[in-house]
Each structure stands twice: as C-alpha cells, then as structure tokens.
Assembly symmetry: C2
Homo-oligomer: 347 residues x 2
Amino acid sequence: MRDFASRVSIRDIARAAETSVSTVSRALNDHPDVSPETRERILRIAQAYGYERNMLAHSLISGRSGLISVIMPDIDYDYQLQFLRGMTHAAQRFGQELLLTVKDTGSETIEACQSMYRRGIADGVIIFSPPVEGAGALRQLQEAGFPVVSFHPPEPLEGLTSVEPMDYEGGVIAVQHLAALGHRRIGMVVEAPDRIAGYERLRGYRDALTQAGIPYDPDLVIAIPAKQPLIAGRASIRQWLEASVEFTAVFCFNDLVAYGVIEELASHGIGVPERVSVVGFDDIPASEYFGRGGLTTVKQPITQIGELALETLLLLCDGKSQPGQRVQVPVELVVRGTTCVAPAATR
Amino acid sequence: MRDFASRVSIRDIARAAETSVSTVSRALNDHPDVSPETRERILRIAQAYGYERNMLAHSLISGRSGLISVIMPDIDYDYQLQFLRGMTHAAQRFGQELLLTVKDTGSETIEACQSMYRRGIADGVIIFSPPVEGAGALRQLQEAGFPVVSFHPPEPLEGLTSVEPMDYEGGVIAVQHLAALGHRRIGMVVEAPDRIAGYERLRGYRDALTQAGIPYDPDLVIAIPAKQPLIAGRASIRQWLEASVEFTAVFCFNDLVAYGVIEELASHGIGVPERVSVVGFDDIPASEYFGRGGLTTVKQPITQIGELALETLLLLCDGKSQPGQRVQVPVELVVRGTTCVAPAATR
DNA sequence: CATAAGATTGGAAACGTTACCGGTTACCTT
DNA sequence: AAGGTAACCGGTAACGTTTCCAATCTTATG
C-alpha cells in the first residue's frame, strides 16, 4: 500500500495492474469494452492507491471543467451570503465545484465572465447583479454557447437567462400592508430605479398606492446609490426632515436601508413604529433579531434562489434547457415590530 | 476583427501572425528569444482576438492551477462570511481564483482537502475549523508538498500551518471587563472545550478569574455542541435557572450564543444588562445593531484574518515560507450595551 | 476447417500549452 | 574568406487524460 496522500496517475495504475492506460481509462469510466476480471482488478488497485483522476487533463480533453463560476460585486451584505449559501448547497448536492470571484466594479464582473469563458476555466457563470452596460457582452457569451445565469438581471434582459425575486409583487404587498394600517403618507427609499429590482419595486409601490386610493407624491420617493445603504438610508430621512416632508411610513429598498432609516429617525427622537412605520426588503437573518421585536420586511427565499440559480445553470450546461428563460420566485411579507397602525391624527 | 466573445487558441494566433506556436508562446510569456517586431505583431493580434491562455492546458504543464481551495463546514454564521470576504479581497489583489467547497461534516472537509490534491485542481487549501481527527491527514498532505493552512486549527496542531485569533487573551479581557464591573459570579458558555478555540478561551476565563481573586466554580461552566448556538445558548440559561445556580454575568463562546442567552434571560423577565451582563465573542456585524445598544463582545479582525490566511498560503505555494508556522492575531474588547456594573447586592 | 463475428486489448493521436533542442540567418572578428 | 557567435525561430515532446483504430484472441457458425 502506497502513501495515502500522494498524487497517482493513470499510468501508475496501468503499471501496477499490468495493463495499458487505455484499459485503465475504460475501466474507470465504465466503458463496456473491458472484461469483468480486468475491471475488477483495476478498480481494486485504483482504490488502494487512492487514485482520483487529474481534473485538468480530463477537462482539457472533455472540454468541461466541472467548475461553476460565481461572480459578485462584493459580499458586504448578508443577502449575498444567503444566495451564495444556496449555491454551495446545490453544488454539494450535484458534485460541482464553485469558483468564487469577487470584483469591485460592475464592468470588472463582466470582464471576469468573459475571462472565465476564454480561459476555459468554468463551464458556466452565475453573475450577481450585472451592470446594465454588460447586458450585450453577456448575450454574446450566451450566443457563443457559454451558459450565463443572471441574478438581479439588467434591463433589458431580452434573451438572457435570469433568476429573480418577484420584485413588483413585493412592492405591492409592502404598501398594501402599510395602507391597511391606515398610513396615507408612505415614502419609498429606492436603490437604482433604473435597474430591474428598483424599477419593479417602485412600480409595485405606485400601483399599490393607486389601488388604495392614495395619490402618488414624487417628493416621497428618494433614489439612492447602491453603495453604503446604511448611510444612504440615514441621508434620505435627513433630506425629508429638512424639507419638512410629512410621512408616517417608509418602504425601504432593502433591510440595511431600513436599519439606516430607523437609526436616523431614532436620533431625531422619532419613535418606530409609534410615529413612523418601516418596512424593509429581503429579510436577512439579522432582521429577525433587530430591536423593537424585529424588522417588518418582504422576505425573499434567498437561499432557495441560490440553489435555483445553480440548478438553472447546470441544466443549461447539460443542454437540457434552452437559454433565455426568466425564473421568478415568490416573496412574502413578514410582519414584525417596526410597523403599526398610523398615528390617529394622520389618518 | 473576430467575434469579441469566442474561444481562441495559441494556434489561431500563430496562424494569423504567420509564425509558429512556439514563438507565440514565447512572445506571450515575455521570453527573450523573440524579435521586438514579431513580439509586437503577436501581442497586437492576440489582443485583437481577445486571446487569453487556456488555463487547463497551462496548469497541466506548469503543475500549478492558480486556484486556491477554501473548504468550510457551512457558512451559517456571519463570522464565516467575513472570513471568506477577507480571502476574496486578497484573492482579487493577488490575481488568484478561489474554489469554494462547503461540506456538511468535518470528515468530509478532510476528504475534500485530499481530493483537491489528488485531482490536482488547487495549488493549496485553506480549511476552516478542521476536525481533530483530520490533523494526521492534513499533516500528510503538507509533507507531500501540498500547502495547507488551517483556521481554527485542531489540537495538537504540531507541524501544521495555522492562522488563529488570540483566543486565550480574548477570554482574559472579557472576564477582566466583567470583574472590573464588580461581577463575582461569572458564568461561561463554551463550545467544544476540547478544541483549541474553546480550550484557550476557557483557559483565559479561568486565569482571569484567579487573577481577580474569584474562585473557579465548575457549575458556572457549560459546554455546548457546535451546532445551533442560539438554541444551545438558551438551553444553558435554562439549565442554570433550573439548578438555581447564581450568576450575574455570562461570557459566551460567540455572539450567536450570546443572542440565545439574552433571549432566554428576557423570556424569564431577567433584564440585560441590569440583572445579568453578557459578553460575546467575534463581533459579527449584527452585534453592532443588536438591541440594548449593541452587544458587548470580543472583536476579532476576522476579515483581515481571512486575508492573512490567503497570504500565508500563497507564500507557502511560492516556496517563500516554510510550513508549520502559527500566526496569531490580536483581539480587542468592544464595550456596548449588554454589560454594566453588577447589582449592588451581589458584589 | 475456414471464416465471421464478437470480445478484449494496446498503440497512437488529440486537447492547448510550454520547454527543450537543433537549425537558420546575419553579423562580426581575424 | 573562413569561422564563431548571437539572435531568432520552428519542430517535437511532454503534462494526464480520453478516444479512435487496429490488432489479437476467442468462440460460433457454416
């Protein structure tokens, strides 16, 4: 018996089994053209030697690496983690390896996708929140036969395979909840309304307002950049307060924005939820333990979405599905401690 | 100009530049044996074609894949995320790719390490919290020339390269803080005291008690399993209450345990910090936003630790450092809202 | 007994790259 | 003018696999 932890090639096995590399290869790959005895002997020896096939050589010839590339702008938010977790679970289930790449800017993430294809490292790419300008490049990759799945895809996503939460419905149920509590002055702090997530949530917000008979007031909508949501959330509240905009509820683009909003309100002595109700989006784990009995928020099954993204990509890799599909995942409202009936005077 | 997103080989470049593959390879690798004109021509064409070298073929011949394998039990805790983030940052800085593998059990993580080596996929492995039984296998890998860096290494870690927080010092400063506030009945909820992190934190706890002239009471130490820290934290408090053990402070193995402890105390109407002070460990991001003005905890610079782990591994891969080093990272106390002076009657 | 068919095997090419070695050219020295 | 040297280049082998093809051996069939 050899050293347990050493690198063994198919050649070593062939030598030990007194046969050729071709036969060993066939035996290991369940090819029928091997006699039962030879196969048994080879498998036994391979086992004893701790042989595992060299993935590089195998990939080189098979044209598939068994690696899935996951490309993200950063993992600065628990949301991304949960998405990633879902993918790791699915990867484990399917025996796939995950290649994790983090890039600072959107354009770098697109370049990373192209690079994955050109260097032949990965069989496909899952890209998190690709920038709008990257849509063309992604489409080209897809047309070249390289599977790409976008999460939070860019607009227009025509032709791209994507996985998304039901953003529009999320906006609707958040506002419906607030309206049902008697709120009439409902603000929204929205990130990147030119991108699909922001655009759709905003659309849901507006439609739900209309449906509740509440006029839409553009002063109550603030667009913020994607970076540093906590700070942006705080700044939004300051902006409203300085402009003396009246509001009794805020629907936030995500939970971190909501944290910032609540912090800023608290620092002005404005109680949540007594004076202002706040709804988040995503339901990251921390929101359950958030003060005031937790954050009311629109929950995405983000871990399952991660699994779904990987499954979608694997289907594409295996040619079992056609590119261009748009997978949409339902969301649900989780009512916790940051929303309550509107102050009587405002109703 | 060719299709922007297509797979180009060195052969295509050679054909287009009307030269041989050898020359192209030399030109691309800054080998001196190429005339400036030829080199310039080749580089221009390669650029125009969007050539990037096929990583599989390159790795096969060079024996290095440029991939670093990161193996974790699960990423169910923000702590792991921050560690991972640190590695992604460092990877980006060094132009390395990260291969992320998540396995359910400790033994599977060890097998995954061996597999990385045998399949030749990765140049080295960073393993998160390897099980005690795996130490031998990791040592073997290291001896075979395959670099391994353990974070939260197993005991005994003799010969293994490791990166660790200063657990002992963390235990000391946590208890010093509580003792300085007048606490005399300080409990500890410790995870896996047979592993290095738990063992050292417990040792710090005991030494700090002695130093403060407080007798050690084994009834005040509860060992909990590693899974489901929230539930285990709650159960620990129930156990003490049922046994009528007296305590005014709890030092918890990590922040999640602390959350559970505080929740359970609250459910019995025991105020934190008025009646019981609680200290956590790690300082995950949520602890800053935790109710009661945040959780008092021992902060690890976990993101930097991740970067450090990757840098340590890369040095090993490049043969610029010898295996077997033990890198220890300082920790610090962050005082927030869950600790205050002990109730007068108990002092 | 001869031939066909089938089972099993080994040799060689290929995947895309790099490294080594030998060959060609041009220029310089004596 | 002969020889030496440096610069540059192309062919080929190798990395560890898989795949194709040809070769051998066995067995069945006429």
